[in-house]
Symmetry: C2
């Protein structure tokens, strides 16, 4: 076929696939937010059929040939990159028989329900056989790729193209070496008063205040919508359709706010990708780590700063005068940065967070190397929390059942959470050399920070690799030094550990 | 092919089509409730692609042959009926070229926008050429059916299988004969005080109270979810997934409540259809009129009764003590039943409502017989309001532009709204002979009323025709006498018109 014929087929295929992707996004966000659970089974079964249709599109041998022919043609840069990425993705799945793929999707839906039941009943034994089955099936699915790369390396690479077990091992070794002693020193230091954060803050009032924060961080209703769910998340359909969720806690004034700032970080990234990529593969965050870097950047490197609260704290005090009238800005900012080992990853502070991830990384690695099985995995989990964080619980829902991700077979995904924080540190290091972040935060000019991020990171989508984007923006590829320096400096100061 | 082979193909086809229908339902309800408008264009374009895929499924010549062969086989009653209905539906669209079908969908999207602009600008001339074009295109689309039945009869039959122009003419003649004089007598009688309904009722409080009502009418969160929209509606996916919306008005305590009871009437019908029909054509309300009968039954024949409020009014008073402390139960019930001619159909009372419908029916009939053109149709509209309801407005947005339905080409649909009220009266007449409805309402035993409706109406879905179901339930086919008797008796009493 001629180049033009191939391009026409390619474009029709991209458009059609994007219709299924849109549908699956909307059905997914609906299920996670408002859909009656009674309809889950019916919807899940039909969602699997649509996913199967998308799978057929994504493995269509005719399109495989089109992509292969296009790879040999002279194409404009955007199209060339998109065709390469589509082809890469196709090669990952093209050998999986459709029946097996559909069965795998069904298994995942069932696994989510099993996990939820197990967590609700606080009983790992309900989820354990499902987890075993998931791991088996994942292995079978990956085996179709016939790759020589070790299995867990393939998984890591799926979420963070370019990252390997060796690199993560090195990263987590540094995390362990520099942060575990720091956490231990803090345990012995004078603690920060955080008690006022956990007074009673009526949720209706928190919702009202959230409107202020959403405005401040430029989450606009014509492209974004925030719902409430048990587990906050972000989903996006296109440039002008990004959904976030948050969760309010009556006895916690900061959780919903920082979780919102975090999710809006994800949403803003997607919103800011060049709209000319809408509906095609380039219109996605480049990697899970880069995505998480943008949410963490907003949550931790902006949302936890004194400058952020210089603008926002007076309004918060106004909203909750009784609870906060005697709390100074400094005391408030110290409190929301305090560090103390805890059991739940999503509630962890900035400093102990990467150790939660390290535990999951170590477990996943050994699950897939065969060193560990799912049997008694809850006990292994608890022992590692004891070892790295010095805390312990026998409750599975505070332990191995706390996260949904394994039920979704997101193996290899957790490490990108820690990586994201580290990438964010590197980006912020450069950004602070180029714009006066604190002054912008103080002056309600958050949009100018977003603009810097859009120009230097967001707009590219997948047009370049994460490391290419990072190098363009900061002058060097990923370097965890910035992250560990930042944490050491920040927490040494906060806990007066000098000398 | 053998019967078994055909059945297998048929079942696969039904399942696949139901997946697209589920997706389109969820995408639709999402768009109408929470989706950011910025994403509409992107989503709409892709929704059209999915709708096109469904159209191809629904006109697949291979499946047409399967259905034709199955029609000649011995099948169980459920399957036979389903195959017949699928075939009927297929015959309606199978001859329409796909391009023309897609163009028609696009015209409808454009027509909606034109209608909205015309209504916003209060200018019928903006919408008139579009309405002309819609009528032309509808005629073309129907012409593909090559039916001998007069066009408007075909349309009526699409929404209410079995109903003809002759039957509707007879129905509306009786409505006119018995209700127009009654309305005129009420206009001269002592009016009912309704002023307290329109005090300030804070919406947050109304929302709280609504939870009580939703519980009372057995709208359960595991199969139903209520959102808020400008124009309330109900959408359903399957037995255990029905969505309703409502709209709160600060200066109206009854609008949101009765609109909720109405929509939950639709939702309950769908929820109660035998789940063995889930995902197939039998799992739909049997006709628009029967559907509307179930929403009107709950809204008017339950929700406006004294017995309903004997249980619910004390709680309403508790919720709004200042506004309602001096209003007795009787005064409240009289007020929510008061009748007074008004311009807007959706705000009309129970008695004047069918005249709004009669006007639309008369106009549609004459539009399609060629007696009327779209030119000066706004004037015709206004004259008919003057004639039947004694009120007049020159504002097109309070007149011919008030309803969205013509922009959607729902010609033939309006009459089912009046028919629904009349069917409800007939059903309630029988129901009240078999169960003590008022006592059940008083004693918070709404579930027993729902149970009666489920057994006698809901569970059948499309397994029988509307008239078959009505005859099973009430002993006779549709008879408007019950409706007109009910209205005459009720309003004669309310306005003390005896003697």
């Amino acid at each position: 076929m001629t180049k033009e014929e191939n391009l026409k087929l390619y474009e029709e295929w991209v458009l059609k696939a994007s219709a299924y992707e849109m549908a699956l996004s909307v059905i997914g966000v609906d299920k996670m937010t408002i859909a009656p659970v009674g309809g889950n089974e019916y919807r899940d079964q039909r969602t699997a059929i649509l996913a199967g249709e998308l799978f057929e599109l994504n493995t269509d041998p005719k399109i495989q040939k089109v992509l292969e022919e296009l790879l040999k043609e002279e194409l404009d840069g955007d199209t060339k990159k998109a065709v390469e990425l589509y082809y890469q993705e196709m090669m990952k799945v093209v050998s999986i028989p459709k029946d097996e793929y559909v069965a795998f999707q069904n298994l995942k839906s069932k696994a989510y329900n099993d996990w939820l039941e197990a967590k609700t009943k606080n009983d790992y034994s309900i989820f354990e056989p499902t987890l075993t089955k998931l791991i088996e099936e994942v292995k079978k699915i990956y085996a179709y790729r016939k790759s020589d790369v070790p299995l867990y390396d393939q998984m890591l690479n799926d979420y963070e193209p370019g990252m390997t077990m060796a690199q993560y091992d090195d990263f987590f070794a540094q995390v362990k070496e520099r942060l575990v002693p720091l956490i231990q020193r803090i345990a012995k230091a004078k603690q920060v008063d955080t008690s006022f954060l956990y007074k009673s803050y009526p949720i209706a009032k928190q919702r009202e205040y959230m409107d202020e924060i959403l405005k401040y961080i430029r989450f606009e209703p014509d492209w974004g919508y925030q719902n409430e769910t048990e587990h906050p998340f972000t989903t996006w359909v296109c440039e002008n359709d990004c959904r976030t969720t948050t969760k309010y806690l009556e006895n916690n004034i900061i959780a919903a706010i920082l979780s919102t700032v975090h999710e809006v970080g994800h949403a803003t990234y997607e919103h800011d990708i060049d709209p000319k990529y809408d509906g095609m593969i380039l219109s996605n965050g480049v990697s899970s780590g880069m995505h998480e870097s943008q949410s963490r950047l907003m949550e931790n490197y902006l949302g936890r700063t004194k400058a952020f609260w210089e603008y926002n704290y007076p309004k918060l005090q106004e909203c909750f005068p009784e609870q906060l009238k005697d709390v100074s800005l400094d005391a408030f900012v110290d409190a929301i940065n305090a560090s103390s080992p805890s059991l739940i990853r999503t509630e962890a502070d900035e400093l102990t967070y990467p150790l939660h991830i390290m535990i999951r990384y170590e477990i996943e690695k050994r699950l897939f190397s065969g060193e560990l099985s799912t049997e008694n995995l809850d006990q292994t989990w608890n022992k590692m929390y004891e070892e790295y964080l010095g805390i312990h619980s026998e409750n599975a829902k505070e332990g191995i059942l706390q996260d949904v991700h394994w039920s979704e077979t997101y193996f290899g995904y957790f490490p990108t959470y820690a990586l994201g924080s580290a990438i964010a540190a590197q980006i912020v290091h450069t950004m602070r050399q180029q714009i006066d972040v604190d002054q912008l935060l103080r002056e309600n000019r958050y949009d100018e920070i977003v603009k810097w991020l859009k120009e230097n990171i967001h707009r590219y989508g997948c047009r370049y690799t994460a490391n290419e984007i990072l190098t363009k923006a900061t002058g060097e590829p990923f370097n965890p030094k910035y992250y560990l320096d930042y944490l050491e400096e920040k927490y040494t100061k906060l806990y007066h550990l000098e000398g």
